[in-house]
């Protein structure tokens, strides 16, 4: 990752990628604190595709052991912020 992104930019990227994977989902209703899989019709293949897309979009390495940290919108934002050395969102 060459340029630090803001929390809003990260969230925007995450929502865009989710929208590509689950195009039928109404992401405006997504609760950022609740896990994606509790709100969206996505399975392990979708989640893997999401992780791959996030890796490719933001150029960050994501070990499999960290997948659980990417289970919600807030989790994703915090994870990427940490990876780029920034502040977590509350």
């Amino acid at each position: 990752m060459t340029m630090k992104l803001t929390a809003a930019e990260i969230a925007g990227t995450v929502l865009r990628l989710l929208g590509e994977i689950a195009p039928e989902a109404d992401l405006t209703q997504l609760n950022p604190e609740v896990g994606f899989r509790d709100q969206l019709d996505i399975d392990s293949m979708d989640f893997l595709n999401f992780v791959i897309a996030l890796h490719e979009a933001l150029h960050i390495e994501i070990p499999e052991a960290d997948y659980s940290k990417l289970s919600s919108l807030t989790g994703c934002v915090n994870y990427v912020m940490t990876m780029q050395g920034g502040q977590k969102t509350s």
Partner: protein
Amino acid sequence: MAEFVMPTLGADMSAGTLVAWKKKEGDRVTRGEIVAEVETDKAAIDVEIFSTGVIEKILVQPGEKVPVGTVLAIIREEGAIAQAAPPAVEPSRLRISPSARQLARELGVDPAGVQGTGPDGAITRRDIETAAQAMGDRRRAIGESPAEPIAPSPAPRAGEAGDRLLRMRQAIAAAMARSKREIPHYYLSTTIDMGRALAWLSEENLKRPVADRLLYGVLLLKAVALALREVPELNAVWKDGQAVQSQVIHLGVAISLRGGGLVAPALHDADRQSLGELMQNFRDLVKRARAGSLRSSELSDPTITVTSLGEQGVETVFGVIYPPQVALVGFGKVVERPWVAEGTVVPRPVVTATLSADHRVTDGHRGGLLLAAVDRLLQEPGRL
């Protein structure tokens, strides 16, 4: 002359609507090439041709719904000429897998300009990805905008989606009712210790880049595919009153579709693929199944179905065989259970594997051997 007919894409299909021709009269076509798009009750399908030649006459026009077996076009075959002298390599003859070719289309990469690194110079998905990356780098270097991504198909209107779902349910109902009416099912189950397989998978995925990581389900698929080599009578179709064993192992993998319904397209030659290849092809299959771009051979070729409902919290699957197949293997979710190992009770991750099989073709003894083989293979995951 050869006939290009409306294919049958499963026991639940009696007719299809020709949506579009990808070729016109006078065009040359090559075996395996996609020449038409057909809509069935379940999905829109890219239909491949099984002969090489020139389209002499198109007999069915877009929008027409015709029964299975109807001649759609007449092909003037060139088989004898093609066999006499090997043709020069042309784009359609490149050594490239269907999966890599599809990826090339999606990424806007011309495979003819890609150097293959696979066996005998075959072009792999990785080669296509590398070429696409290089194209992007070149564009950025000269300040050019990236190519427009391929626009997804417009979402169907609510009414269309509802109609399609209704037709799909009717198709599934017809196939499942036929199955229960005609096939004397028997059911077996076994509990498999997944400790070794899951530990191996974690280690293996540490070595793999994100895009090449394996899902646990791929281990199950490969184990079933290899086990079928040991009990081949379960890898068969029922035809004209008898079982016909298949010489190839094409796993039909049950894939749930967004908005409801499911399809079970084929992962071709699953026993011959490495875990990495199987994973990439599985990913591609799921993606295309949900995008409505499966190929006709993928719906007509499965020789057995594998389904997993573990992600839905199901522990044991009692599947209904999809005719004309004669067996279905099901997996539930991985759960922690007390397990006796060397006289000690220890917690172990276990999964329940089930077999639904046609009693006209096999009995419980042979079915039990299949499940035992799946169990044994999963205890040596490094050899899958």
